[in-house]
């Protein structure tokens, strides 16, 4: 009885922690879905450990307890692969963004350098325009 209780406690605690963290909304779309599925699996296997024995019988594996470990490991590896794919995508985007930033900065400098002589040529045009003064309401006015 106590083994079942331990398993249930671990499952519920893990699912609860994941639910809590997902609810805090720090995860992006599909990641939240993944972790909710993990929480559901932890809850299910924690509360109904006999599901593992059933799964062992269905798949023909004699030593059923090894099954969740194998499946879990495979899922973790897949998850890691997906993470590296995402990281590669981010790296590509970061590199391209960096390149574009450099090019745009150069264009900005060039545009500024071209604008400057024009401003010197006709210095009166923008300068003579006096700033329009808008009186701000004082705290006692209204």
């Amino acid at each position: 009885m106590s083994a079942v209780l331990t398993a249930a406690l671990i499952g519920i605690a893990m699912a609860g922690a994941i639910f809590y963290l997902v609810r805090r909304d720090h995860l992006h779309g599909s990641y939240a879905l993944w972790w909710l599925a993990v929480a559901a699996a932890a809850l299910l296997l924690g509360v109904f450990p006999q599901a593992i024995d059933w799964l062992g019988r269905v798949t023909g594996i004699a030593y059923a307890p090894v099954l969740p470990i194998i499946i879990g490991l495979a899922m973790i590896l897949l998850r890691m692969l997906k993470m590296d794919i995402d990281r590669s995508r981010s790296e590509r985007q970061l590199r391209r963004l960096t390149q574009k930033l450099g090019i745009i900065e150069q264009e900005l400098m060039q545009a500024r350098a071209m604008q400057r002589p024009a401003a010197i040529a006709e210095p009166t045009a923008p300068r003579t325009k006096t700033a329009q003064v808008i009186p701000l309401p004082k705290s006692g006015d209204a």
Partner: protein, 252 residues
């Protein structure tokens, strides 16, 4: 064949109107970059762009002083990342020809007219300036291995002295080329995959003045590089052998 010949004729006719951009990727090359820019301008008609790969020294200022346009990268992207920045600049600004050379003085700007001439005569999309004599035994062995692996019959894969035409610029400025770390095999395989032809032009180069080759500095680096490139070949497998590169001198 017809098409290439026609393309080549058009290219020769419009030669004078073609806009050329010389791209010089530079990282901490303040000592040489100014001189290289001046020497390039003396022999080539076109714009000069120095891509400053987040240098710690006065590379950017020296290049500006010499009259080059400078793009400063906010952090280091590596040799290929810097060169690609130049190619993206070329595409964005509608240049017809882009040539790249190193800022450390190992490529002589005086060789550029011959390289351009060789490229024009070959009708290839990309010309690579090579200097077979500088290859060490280890490099020769490595290149033999990669020639076998990729089927690209190029003498020197790493040479940064290259000429690209409009199509090559467009291919290499694309997102596909952004995850490459070196400008050698990955770039050449991508070009071949897109059906572009390569041509090698023998040139004269000097040994690097400051520092050694980044790739061939230690055995660990060599091992890492070989492994990295082998994996890259594996990822590109299947693109092999579709287009044979133009052999040296075959079409000249």
């Amino acid at each position: 064949m017809q098409l290439t010949l026609r393309g080549r004729n058009v290219r020769e006719k419009d030669q004078s109107n073609q806009r050329l951009l010389a791209i010089i990727p530079a990282r901490n090359e303040a000592a040489t970059v100014g001189e290289i820019v001046r020497r390039v301008r003396a022999v080539v008609k076109g714009d000069i762009l120095v891509v400053n790969d987040a240098s710690d020294d006065a590379t950017s200022a020296q290049a500006r002083l010499a009259g080059a346009t400078v793009v400063d990268l906010p952090f280091q992207l590596g040799a290929w990342g810097a060169a690609q920045t130049g190619l993206r600049y070329a595409k964005r600004n509608g240049f017809d020809i882009a040539l790249t050379l190193d800022a450390d003085g190992q490529h002589h700007p005086e060789e550029l007219p011959a390289l351009l001439e060789g490229w024009r005569c070959s009708g290839a999309h990309v010309a690579i300036g090579t200097f077979p004599a500088r290859l060490s035994a280890a490099k020769r062995l490595a290149w033999q291995y990669f020639r076998l692996l990729t089927g690209i019959g190029v003498q020197d894969f790493t040479s940064g002295l290259r000429v690209y035409d409009r199509r090559a610029i467009s291919v290499l400025a694309s997102r596909k080329a952004s995850l490459l770390d070196y400008q050698d095999l990955g770039v050449l395989m991508l070009l071949r995959k897109k059906g572009l032809r390569l041509h090698e032009v023998p040139t004269v180069m000097s040994p690097r003045r400051t520092g050694g080759s980044r790739v061939f500095s230690s055995w660990l680096m060599v091992a890492r590089y070989m492994l990295h490139t082998t994996v890259l070949c594996f990822a590109q497998f299947g693109a092999r052998g579709r287009i044979a590169p133009a052999r040296r001198g075959a079409r000249a």
